[in-house]
Symmetry: D2
Amino acid sequence: MTQYYLYGERRALPAGPSYEVYLDPATTAVVSIDMHDGHLSESPDCPCPAPRGRAIVKPLDAFNDAARAIGVRLVHVRSSLRPSGADDVGGIPSAWRLGFGEFVGGIPNVDQHAIEGTPWTRFSIRIAPGDEVVDSKKRLSAFYPTDLDFLLRQMGVATIVLTGVMTDCCILNTAFDASNRNYRVIVIRDLVAGTNEELEEAALKIMSLNTGLVMDAKDLLGAWRERQSGVAAA
Amino acid sequence: MTQYYLYGERRALPAGPSYEVYLDPATTAVVSIDMHDGHLSESPDCPCPAPRGRAIVKPLDAFNDAARAIGVRLVHVRSSLRPSGADDVGGIPSAWRLGFGEFVGGIPNVDQHAIEGTPWTRFSIRIAPGDEVVDSKKRLSAFYPTDLDFLLRQMGVATIVLTGVMTDCCILNTAFDASNRNYRVIVIRDLVAGTNEELEEAALKIMSLNTGLVMDAKDLLGAWRERQSGVAAA
Amino acid sequence: MTQYYLYGERRALPAGPSYEVYLDPATTAVVSIDMHDGHLSESPDCPCPAPRGRAIVKPLDAFNDAARAIGVRLVHVRSSLRPSGADDVGGIPSAWRLGFGEFVGGIPNVDQHAIEGTPWTRFSIRIAPGDEVVDSKKRLSAFYPTDLDFLLRQMGVATIVLTGVMTDCCILNTAFDASNRNYRVIVIRDLVAGTNEELEEAALKIMSLNTGLVMDAKDLLGAWRERQSGVAAA
Amino acid sequence: MTQYYLYGERRALPAGPSYEVYLDPATTAVVSIDMHDGHLSESPDCPCPAPRGRAIVKPLDAFNDAARAIGVRLVHVRSSLRPSGADDVGGIPSAWRLGFGEFVGGIPNVDQHAIEGTPWTRFSIRIAPGDEVVDSKKRLSAFYPTDLDFLLRQMGVATIVLTGVMTDCCILNTAFDASNRNYRVIVIRDLVAGTNEELEEAALKIMSLNTGLVMDAKDLLGAWRERQSGVAAA
């Protein structure tokens, strides 16, 4: 029986078409968010550290391989800011620079965050031939102002599976946006990471109530394999 | 000294232009979200109850009057779904119907939620002449697929102040969207209400880190009055 | 054999799946644009006269009935501006007020154009039960800032058929927008009307090259009926 | 006296604030569209030839230099399609491939059009340090699905000046989109090129009525210089 999380509680996914429609590997894309060295490097110069995300790099590479083997498509979204600064600090700066910056007591190299042409935009996870990349994320959402929605429509995607960083900002915002645009959304509980445990748990609860399903990686892979092989879910 | 909340802690707003730009009443609009009887009625038939929101109806009316007196503009956003069902249950249903419905154990009259022409779309707060209304909210965000962004641009608004329900879904999603679109965002801590205290607090923490300022109503009114009268903040 | 127009020349629609996909009645919606009294009334007070559009009111009613009989869905888009003026003359005014106004030598009652609550927003064509209405058109396109795209996605529409006024502005702009968003677009040559014959013909040529098919009403109805009845196109 | 074109007729720009607001160099950006080798190369392999555009390469370089000297900002928008084909021929293909392709009798190398990493995306005009580039144009409009609107907001741009190819598709569509989003739009009559003279003239007439001003390069430069030097227009 497929398991999911509702408000932090692990339980059996109810039967029925409303849930079944989330689990079709043929109409699904896995969308990873901001798994790049600008968040995940261990260097002291890392411009926008998301240290909790380092623990999901290897498991996400393994999950992505399993998804590819099943035939699920992959899209990787990455922040990229024009070197001129016009996208952010040279115009109306991102709000997180104020609030998050104040919270963590300042980030030394933050002005290098996501700048095109720096090493900080390198992917920390493996990108395979056949994967698609969306390179124009500028703010928290993977949808605005990128071409992700356009690309997903072209690919005939109905369900998106979110992985990456950070659970309580970019993942959460993207889950809201995807759900508003009528995509079915699954967030992989053990393949997202956030600011701290408190906000990770809260964001997962919020998403389980409002944007779709929260599941563990192994449970989703199991559900896909059952459907791929034509075996009905038990 | 103006006070705000960072990660739940009340503290003095730092000085400087990065914060000052949030507090100009002339370029600000107060945006209330979904303060309608479909969420706030005490009737057992209320199709999508947000009972914690009832406590903010009167304080929000008072705040809105104070804002009008200072010359701050108001916009009220309200959900409205076509009677045919095409916007929701007759097409790809909103994800909250699944997750939130399961969480609260089912909502008896939920199919009447926000249906145009029913009494459930009536505002529970007072709308004054000169206020603007946005009537095409269909999902969680006040921005998609409405004309709110278009209207705010036309009004020359740079800062939006969010009030209403629910803190952990529509307010949170709208704060993300507004911030991505480069509006400065203030959320009024004591004029928003959510699912429960746990998620209200978490959502306010998330917004204080990522989308702008979290403030109490009286502190924002005080800051506006100082700027309106030309007296510098102390 | 189905006929269409390429750069003003009537000719046989080539065979093949690239064209066939335009002609499936089951995934199509007819979208009428701005067939309201504010454009079509014969009153001297008509605030934004599109006199060439009056000739298509009856033929469009007949076409819409035929489409309904085949099972094709209908959506009617109509301009509607807030009485405050914030959407247009009270903010950044529409560009057509300058150019078109200068061209026709001024329009006496133009400030009443599309104002909510005036008689000028009444539909001049017949709206049937089961048709959908989009009421938040503010500028030339039927897509921005309305919820038309959202509604069409919910309805599972792949092809839209454009009718109404005016060929060389709102129809043309909507055809571009729909095509960019990956809808298949058909414009009904004899159910659209424009500024004058010169611009109508030019706009139809432009659309035939760039946004999809241009066809006559009877040819499209014929193509739909063949596919509805399961008879292959000859 | 500043001259412009209304419906093809050259005449004096009326005085008054409604027109004056178009001519402030400080809030303006020049936006060039698709001035790349994939349209403008003389090679027989050019994947999407716009031969009339070759004549504007040098004049546009000169105009852009003059604009830079006055302090007007520049943005260059360029099509770029993912090598996988997902953006176009591998998904729902662009409508122009059908209509325009049929019209010109087939384009030999069209599948290479705008493919990332090919020589066909190289700019044919000169890009200077300080200019901005928007690289994610996928369809006709420069606005959807790119980040042009986001970038222009960040830059504080109110007026955009359009140059490039093609007058009757990408320029026209972009003028509509910009105008709908409340930008003031100027199209430079002698720095745009289209399919043929007939459609160029028609598109300029349509834009002069609906989307803003049509002007010659020298007239706009003159108007900017008067305002830059503080001398009132005569």
